[in-house]
Symmetry: C2
Subunit: 247 residues, 2 copies
Amino acid sequence: MANHSTGLREASGRGTPVMRRIAAAGDLTAVELSLVEDVLATPSHHPVRHVLAAEGKPVPAVLLASGWACRQRVLNDGRRQIVSFVLPGDPLFPIMRPAIPASCAAVALTPVVTLNAAPLLAYAQQAPADAGGLANSLRMMDRFDEFLLRDQIVRLGRQIAYERMVHLILELFTRLDAAGLVSNNSFSLPLTQEILADALGLSVVHVNRVLQQIRRDRLMDMRSGMVTILNLPQMQQVADWTPIPLA
Amino acid sequence: MANHSTGLREASGRGTPVMRRIAAAGDLTAVELSLVEDVLATPSHHPVRHVLAAEGKPVPAVLLASGWACRQRVLNDGRRQIVSFVLPGDPLFPIMRPAIPASCAAVALTPVVTLNAAPLLAYAQQAPADAGGLANSLRMMDRFDEFLLRDQIVRLGRQIAYERMVHLILELFTRLDAAGLVSNNSFSLPLTQEILADALGLSVVHVNRVLQQIRRDRLMDMRSGMVTILNLPQMQQVADWTPIPLA
DNA sequence: CGGTCCATTGAGCTTAGTCAAAGAGCGTGG
DNA sequence: CCACGCTCTTTGACTAAGCTCAATGGACCG
């Protein structure tokens, strides 16, 4: 459980991923703003591989403040499929849903900091359906999640390994950018090739070879946990990329 | 546009798929019941291949009364991925969401009858968050949808063709059963092998071969649009089946 | 009786998986 | 400071699941 203090300090700041994501969909009232700041003030820390939410247990209203997590499902014989990545600023599960059993487990891929978003949910649930501000932001984030699932299905069903990898990187690039975690076309990707393989439905060996090919083609570079986008237009072309409507 | 009258008559009945699905999650009040019956009273008919909702257009609040539809996405070079099947009783898209752009197109796979569910949505949106009855039913149906997407991702990412096919048939079996469309372990499957291929991320030829193998193994039989489940336990075993929590 | 759509079959090929082993990087303890 | 062990990456050789192409067969329909 490293950088307690760092996580805490960042979480209180203004340009924090959570705040950026929530504010992206529109302005918040003073009341809403302070509600969010209250939530930011009480972070929880969890180590790698920690199960943030067990499959079948009621879904907690939790936001990820920092670190990487995923929603995943493991088959009887051990095969694992990562359903989606959870990035800083994201809810662990679609948040506007009532407390229903989780459709899959949520697991920390790095040490993470989470926030209890129950107060936000409570506030949003009693707000009228067409209210702007916070309620609207949360709905937007859920909608975003739906897009990601669709993209994941198309990737897995109809793209070859090379396309899948490029498409996933573009997705992460876009999402991390929205969270303010990209600079100079470059971002941190703290994932092993095995994790990428489990997300893309590939073997580790093949992921390795595909990455080398992409590097040779000078589309992007991935070294020691850092990704640099080298040729965005061609990446978008290769992956048949459709921008995710953020608003 | 065949069987207009049939669709209409069924839609007004009590054991209709829509009514079964909505009533499954709990009892409705008299007001809610009549609201649903009003909706059932004005069906719309659409031919095969009709685009029920275009990608990017605001999602209509629509229920499928009869026939089969799907949500799909087509890549630039023509590759198609079916994201999910929409069966009688299902909403075309998660229904409790506000009118947001559709993440993919909805298309009729057979002639279909649809219902305008806007009155139900309006009613449910103004109901308190923890109200039972209709609002709860609609939320339940959305939650169900989320499970299906997860299952589709796991199928495509981590199962081989044989397993995928068996798993999909089990899913359809379960869902059609909930809609009252299964009898004697047998149901109608009005899909070409090409449609199955596009749902499972396989080629038509391979779908054909896998189906033959499954038939030879006496797990199930699929002939002229009818599927018969022959060995449910072994199918569940093969597909690593986890029952979808309906309640 | 042709035409159309769909299912089926065969042959050959490609993508991606498996198995096994060898580097590389990194933290820990001697 | 180095050696060991751990995890992760990389490479090679081989295998196999699944794809493409092409042709045939069947059913239905005007």
